[in-house]
Symmetry: C2
Subunit: 596 residues, 2 copies
């Protein structure tokens, strides 16, 4: 189906919004009146700009407080409408949105509403314009889609139809099944928005917290199925008001938006995408750093051995069990200091995974292929992290390790056997986008967001995982937009014996994050430990958590650049990431930075 | 009464919080458990730190999910409680907060709850500790203060009392009158928080949107009167969870917090403050600038004349009717570029106004007094703007104009007669503080906040005014923390003929902000104008608004540094500031900056 987006969903000037929508692949736009009023472009210029960009103008919106009003008010409304219809003719737009009235003088009188909407449609018809009447969830007398449709049916005018909006319908808890009783040709327009499930005033909820389909808790896909079943074949159009998007750059938001519609069409059976290829493990984590020494010291103390060197690039492979860390001192490293720049995902079908990512608008990265390099399919995640779809020594697939030449090394003798999870703090504007990306592009499951208190503001954290937990990525976001170079990242390494791992790390010269004694006093109050256990945790700075499935023991190294490591001993049934302990860890990291 | 604040209300580490609370004048603190757990200070060290700072530790909080639980769970609870009571002994704190249970196994059984709380109190008594039991608004079975009190009465133990919390009581709409039926000595503690009136889930509302008394919509003062009438004489303690405060510096937040308690005590008749002295007009607005030329050019084109020069400082007085603008090129100007640095407020009792401001914790500025300077009482507003309480040529009071020596000047022949309003964008963290400050310190009325859409994010705006509108200050705040030097400020000048004023400004070489033609097309649709009126507005970039009381016509100059001017023609009955037009103005200012 054709895709469209309301200009109010994007940040910036009207011209910035149009450019971003076109670049992200939308077919059309809804022009929000205030965006036009604030633009120095004349309507004819907007029309020409859209034509140049290959965008149709699918809707002009909104016209308000039109119907069920006293005759003298309605007379003014028709006057106003005539102005707007002239404007729409200049704009080259043939459908106008009329929201159900919130006018203080509006009467609870469907016959009057139908009569006045018919009058409006008669006027619109002279201009070749169609009127799409929509029930606002907070409309004074008309607040449900079926009520709006009854009025449209009663008015019975060819230039009058209804506009359906997933937010207004689902936020009120209306049953969308009844949409199928509306003739498709009388559904003039379909606006889509999702929203997180929140118990709050519906108007505030609508104006500040809408999000793109798949990012909230409403069943937008189910609604679209009903609208299709009714015979609607107009555009799928996004209309999202959101305080974060208002501040974000229009370009990435538009991509995020278009991706949500592609995913929606797949879920609703409207259009297919290359099939989902779920990663089956973490092949490697790649750190870029301008100075390999501090990272090498950390990895060495953690029990990793430098096992190989890339054939043509300044990249070392450090390995311990199935945990592999690449240390890259190439050109990218000079720019941003030490950071987690790439993740290798073990993929049953690397090329297929990349095809799906590309179809879902992930930027495809130039293939890394030197003379002997194995082909590597890679895309960029919303936060810029490079995701490589690859295979490690699997039959029938080229292995990325083929690009590396083994180097002499001592036997790795540490306690780490694989990567438990990766934690990436997202840019402030892209948290919801990141979760949707990891779900739709990688096929991971997203858990609910949890709040985590840092001494200087609340973080939100949302893990995404595959079925067996062999890929776990903890996405988080800080309390406000900040300098991206300050965003922390960490690599959590799985061990079967965190005490031994911590002791070995320390014996090798590593420094563990100091945890306040008060924390361990509290553990003593909350849990029963075996003799000496708590004293050991206290000595090493090991944190403890427990859920119904088991226990979780973990400790942290110091930070290099943006990156630190965590040692994790996870009982099989434990599902979390120690979020309960995160405030203590964050506070201790602040202390560590201050002390330095 | 003694004042206290929960450490959770402030940002930072525990030591930062304690220092900020002491500096702002609090007598004590509630220690939030997580703050202690995350602190490297041992409980004894926290105790000593508080003693050094002159702070008592009034409450340790919270203890959760204690009562009405199965016996084996309660056994664990007592074990945990013993640990905490030992901790409290080390801390030197004798009262613990117990919140009503949200435990999934908690029974709806008051007798069991009373029995277990009595057991807890018996244990507490051994440690010399009192247990204050509080009803959480979302408690599983106990969610109202009177229910919590019935259980405390039934338990009937000297070490068990109740804790009242204004948020939990008022957010649920409970009638606080019944508090007077509780014996004062059984009210062990009183926690205070306000909140904006919002229809949302009470737990989310409580955790993210609480604010200090006077900053929200709850009748905290009325509640405190009832608690006093019951005979309570413990501390008034603030417990506020708020996403903004979490990110703000602890120092200013603590001052804001303590001010709210001073005001609350005045309102509740507990403690008097120096009487309110409401300003009666704007004596002057003072711009500081490193380069007087662009400002002088603007003022000249607006019809101002340079009428006088300060006797000892590089400050010029520009005047037109009752509108006076000081242009200061002194040392402060070098630092921050052109900005509105000070406001002179016409005061019936300048010294009295300053006394009240000082009592309400406004920083008192060093008096400006050179050899012949008139004494000037001045304080700093939360955003750093200097407020001078002064008199302009009024009998019996020294006039600030006495410091100025007239200079030869042409007759001012413009159309401006006074300052209509001043608009100040506040630092992100201090919007609610600013509104409370202007209400309590200056005695102005605050209107409701309105949202204003900028192309790059939502602004909030909240005007404060005196009774006759001769002092109007529009406070606003941007969508996210930004560089303070980017915060816009403007001076709106009142005229009886905005068309003549705009024409004269332009004839004198001034440049008005260009307003898109689409805006005026829309005006034509919305309003009826006399012949040629709209064309004139279009030509000059004049914006138009109307409310029940009359019309409002206004236009804008270009911006110098952070400052621009507005010409305003306000019909007597019009109450607003043209907020409806602000999105168009903000977009036009973005265009203006881009074009440059």
């Amino acid at each position: 189906m054709r895709t469209s987006i309301a200009t109010v969903s994007l940040s910036g000037s009207l011209t910035e919004k149009l450019a971003a929508a076109a670049r992200a692949g939308f077919d059309g736009v809804e022009i929000f009146e205030n965006d036009l009023l604030a633009s120095p472009l004349a309507p004819e210029e907007v029309r020409a700009r859209c034509a140049d960009l290959g965008l149709s103008i699918d809707l002009y919106q909104p016209m308000r407080d039109i119907e069920a009003v006293p005759a003298e008010v309605f007379e003014g409304n028709l006057r106003r409408a005539r102005h707007k219809f002239e404007l729409m003719r200049r704009l080259g737009c043939d459908t106008v949105l009329v929201c159900s009235s919130v006018h203080p003088l509006a009467a609870d009188d469907d016959a009057l509403a139908a009569y006045q909407l018919r009058e409006l449609a008669t006027l619109a018809e002279e201009f070749g314009i169609r009127v799409a009447y929509e029930a606002l969830a907070w409309g004074r007398h008309v607040s449900t889609y079926d009520h709006a449709w009854r009025i449209v049916r009663e008015a019975d005018h060819p230039a009058l139809g209804t506009c359906l909006d997933s937010f207004h319908i689902l936020a009120r808890g209306s049953d969308p099944k009844g949409i199928e009783d509306i003739p498709g040709e009388k559904i003039f327009f379909l606006q889509l928005a999702d929203a997180p499930l929140m118990a709050m005033d519906v108007l505030q909820w609508s104006r500040h917290y809408r999000c793109f389909p798949g990012q909230g808790g409403l069943d937008v896909t189910g609604l679209v199925r009903h609208v299709r079943a009714a015979g609607y074949d107009g555009p799928l159009s996004l209309e999202v008001f959101n305080d974060v998007f208002r501040q974000a750059e229009a370009g990435p938001t538009a991509v995020d938006a278009h991706r949500s519609l592609l995913m929606l069409q797949e879920a609703a059976g409207i259009a297919a995408l290359p099939r989902r290829v779920v990663p089956t493990g973490v092949a490697f984590a790649e750190l870029v750093t301008p100075d390999a020494e501090p990272v090498a010291a950390l990895l060495g103390a953690l029990g990793f051995a430098r096992t190989a060197r890339h054939r043509s690039k300044p990249v070392d492979l450090w390995q311990q069990g199935e945990a592999r860390v690449l240390v890259n001192t190439g050109p990218a490293a000079r720019r941003d200091g030490t950071q987690l720049a790439a993740i290798g995902l073990e993929s049953p079908d690397p090329a297929g995974a990349a095809r799906r990512a590309e179809a879902l608008l992930a930027p495809v990265l130039p293939r890394r292929r030197a003379t002997e390099d194995a082909p590597l399919d890679a895309v960029a995640a919303p936060d810029g992290t490079e995701l490589f779809f690859c295979a490690t020594d699997r039959p029938g697939l080229p292995s990325w390790t083929g690009d590396f030449r083994p180097v002499a090394h001592p036997e790795a003798a540490g306690h780490v056997h694989r990567v438990d999870h990766l934690a990436l703090t997202q840019p402030w504007h892209q948290f919801d986008e990141a979760a949707l990306f990891h779900r739709t592009v990688l096929g991971l499951h997203a858990s609910d967001s949890v709040d985590v208190a840092d001494p200087y503001g609340l973080f939100r954290s949302r893990p995404v995982t595959n079925d067996d937990g062999s890929v776990r990525i903890a996405l988080s976001v800080g309390p406000a937009p900040t300098d991206d170079t300050a965003r922390a990242q960490h690599i959590a390494l799985a061990t079967d014996d965190v005490v031994a791992a911590a002791r070995a790390f320390r014996a090798a010269g590593g420094r563990l994050l100091a945890v306040p004694a008060n924390y361990h006093d509290d553990l003593a109050a909350r849990f029963e430990f075996t003799d000496g256990e708590l004293e050991t945790y206290r000595e090493l700075g090991i944190l403890y958590d427990r859920d119904a499935g088991g226990g979780f023991r973990h400790c942290y190294t110091e930070t290099v650049g943006r990156v630190f490591f965590e040692l994790v001993q996870r009982d099989t049934g434990y599902q979390g990431y120690g979020a309960q302990n995160a405030p203590v860890r964050l506070a201790a990291q602040h202390v560590q930075r201050t002390v330095r």
